[in-house]
Symmetry: C2
Subunit: 240 residues, 2 copies
C-alpha cells in the first residue's frame, strides 16, 4: 500500500520577496519522512486572498493531508485563517475556546488582550484547535488542513502536536554512499540499478569539495532488504 | 503599471524528503526583487513526469516568466528537460549545438562524453540555450520558461545569464524599522497605516532575541516618496 501523501502551503510575502529564508519546509519534510508520510508538493504564495483560497482548495483535494505555515498573527497582513475558512465555505468568528486561551495568557502578562490580539481567536466553525505551547495563540485543523504559525519555533511545536494524530505509512529506510567518480560515469550503471529495483527511489546528487568531486547516491524505500541489496550491488559496481 | 510576475518550480525528491535544504528559491527571490519582477508563487514537486508537466503548464499560463531548478543532469532521475518539452508538445532530442558544447568540454577533460552525459544535450525543438560557465551542460529557455540546474553555483550563474534578457519593472524600495513592542500593540496603528497607504506592502515580522521582543516592520513599494512618508508616520506613532 502506498504511503499517505501530504502537501505544504507556505504563506507570506516575506518569503517571496527574499527578505526571509523559509525554514519550515525543510523541517516538515524531515519530520514527515520519519513517520512514513510522503511530502509530495509544496507551494509558496503571497498574502493574497485568492492565492490562499485557491491553493488550499487544490492541495486539500489532491493530497491526504495539508500543512500551512504563516499568516495567523495579530496584524492586518495575517489573513490565513479567514481565507482557509473561505476555501471550505465555513463561517469564521472569534471563538470562545480560543478567546479563553488568550484571556488566560494575557491575564498573566503585562500586555492587554486588545482587538488586534483577539483576531488570533478567529477560528472557522467546526475546526479543532492546535496547541501553541510557545505563545498560546492556537493553530487549527479543518477538514484535512492543519493551519500553523510561520515563526519557526511555533511551527515546530505545532507539528509536534499534530503528527501523533496522523496515520503514517511504512517508515522509509535510506542508505547513501559517496562515489568519487563523475556523475556521468555513474549514470549508466545507476540507471540500470534503478530499473532492476523499480520500487526504490534512487537519487544521484553531485558534489565538489576539497578538490574532489563525485556524487552522493541515495537509495530509499520501505523494504529494508531491497534497499540493502541495491546498495550492495552499487558498491560492487563502484568499489571504494 | 504593475510589475511583471514570475513563478519558480523546484524539481527534486531530495528537497521533499528533507535530505537537501533548497537554497535557490531564496536566492532567486532576492534577485527578482532587485530588478522589479514580482515572484508570485513557488512550487516544489517530485521527480515525477505528471507533476512536472502539470506544474509547468499551470505556472507558464498564470505568470509572465517561470524559472525551474533541478533535474537536468546525466542520471536516470534527471527528467526535467523531457517533461518540459512534453508540457509544450515539443519534440526533444540531442541537439547539435548543445552536443558541440559538451564535446569541446570533454575533449579538454579526462572524462568521456558517454551516453549518460549526452543526455544533457537533449534540448526541446525551438529552445534557446542558457550558458553554464561552471560545468558547460546548458540550460534552456522555451516559451516563457527558463530551465536551469539545481546545483546552487550553476543555478546562480544561469540566473545571471537570464536576468539581463528580461524586462523588469519599477525597482522596489524597502525600509524597515524594529519596534520593541508586542506585535499585538503595534497591530492597530499599523493596520490603519496600511489602509492609508494601500499601494504599499506593509509587513510585520515578530522577533524575540536577547530577552527583548518586538516586530520588524517592513514597508515596501515602488514610490520612494510614499515609502518614506509611511515610515515617517510609523516612527511618529512609535518613537524609539
Amino acid at each position: 500500500m502506498p504511503n499517505p501523501t501530504a502537501a505544504m502551503l507556505v504563506i507570506g510575502d516575506e518569503i517571496l520577496s527574499g527578505r526571509t529564508r523559509d525554514a519550515n519546509m525543510h523541517y516538515l519534510a524531515g519530520e514527515l519522512t520519519q513517520v512514513g508520510i510522503d511530502l509530495a508538493e509544496v507551494r509558496v504564495v503571497s498574502d493574497d486572498p485568492e492565492a490562499i483560497t485557491n491553493a488550499v482548495k487544490a492541495l486539500s483535494e489532491a493530497y491526504d493531508t495539508v500543512f500551512t505555515s504563516g499568516g495567523i498573527g495579530p496584524t492586518h497582513d495575517d489573513i490565513t485563517a479567514d481565507n482557509v475558512a473561505r476555501a471550505f465555505g465555513r463561517p469564521i468568528s472569534i471563538r470562545d475556546d480560543a478567546r479563553a486561551l488568550l484571556e488566560a495568557h494575557y491575564a498573566k502578562s503585562d500586555q492587554t488582550l486588545n482587538d488586534a490580539r483577539l483576531r488570533m481567536a478567529r477560528i472557522p466553525d467546526g475546526a479543532t484547535l492546535i496547541d501553541n505551547p510557545v505563545s498560546t495563540a492556537p493553530g487549527f485543523t479543518i477538514e484535512n488542513v492543519h493551519v500553523m504559525a510561520g515563526v519557526p519555533a511555533i511551527f515546530k511545536a505545532m507539528v509536534a502536536s499534530v503528527l501523533p494524530t496522523l496515520t503514517g505509512g511504512a517508515p522509509v529506510v535510506s542508505l547513501s554512499e559517496r562515489i568519487y567518480r563523475g556523475e556521468g560515469d555513474i549514470a549508466g550503471p545507476l540507471g540500470a540499478l534503478a530499473e532492476r529495483y523499480a520500487e526504490l527511489s534512487i537519487g544521484s546528487y553531485p558534489f565538489q569539495q576539497d578538490g574532489k568531486f563525485g556524487a552522493q547516491i541515495v537509495i530509499r524505500g520501505t523494504d529494508a532488504d531491497q534497499v540493502n541489496a541495491a546498495m550492495d550491488e552499487l558498491k560492487a559496481e563502484f568499489p571504494a
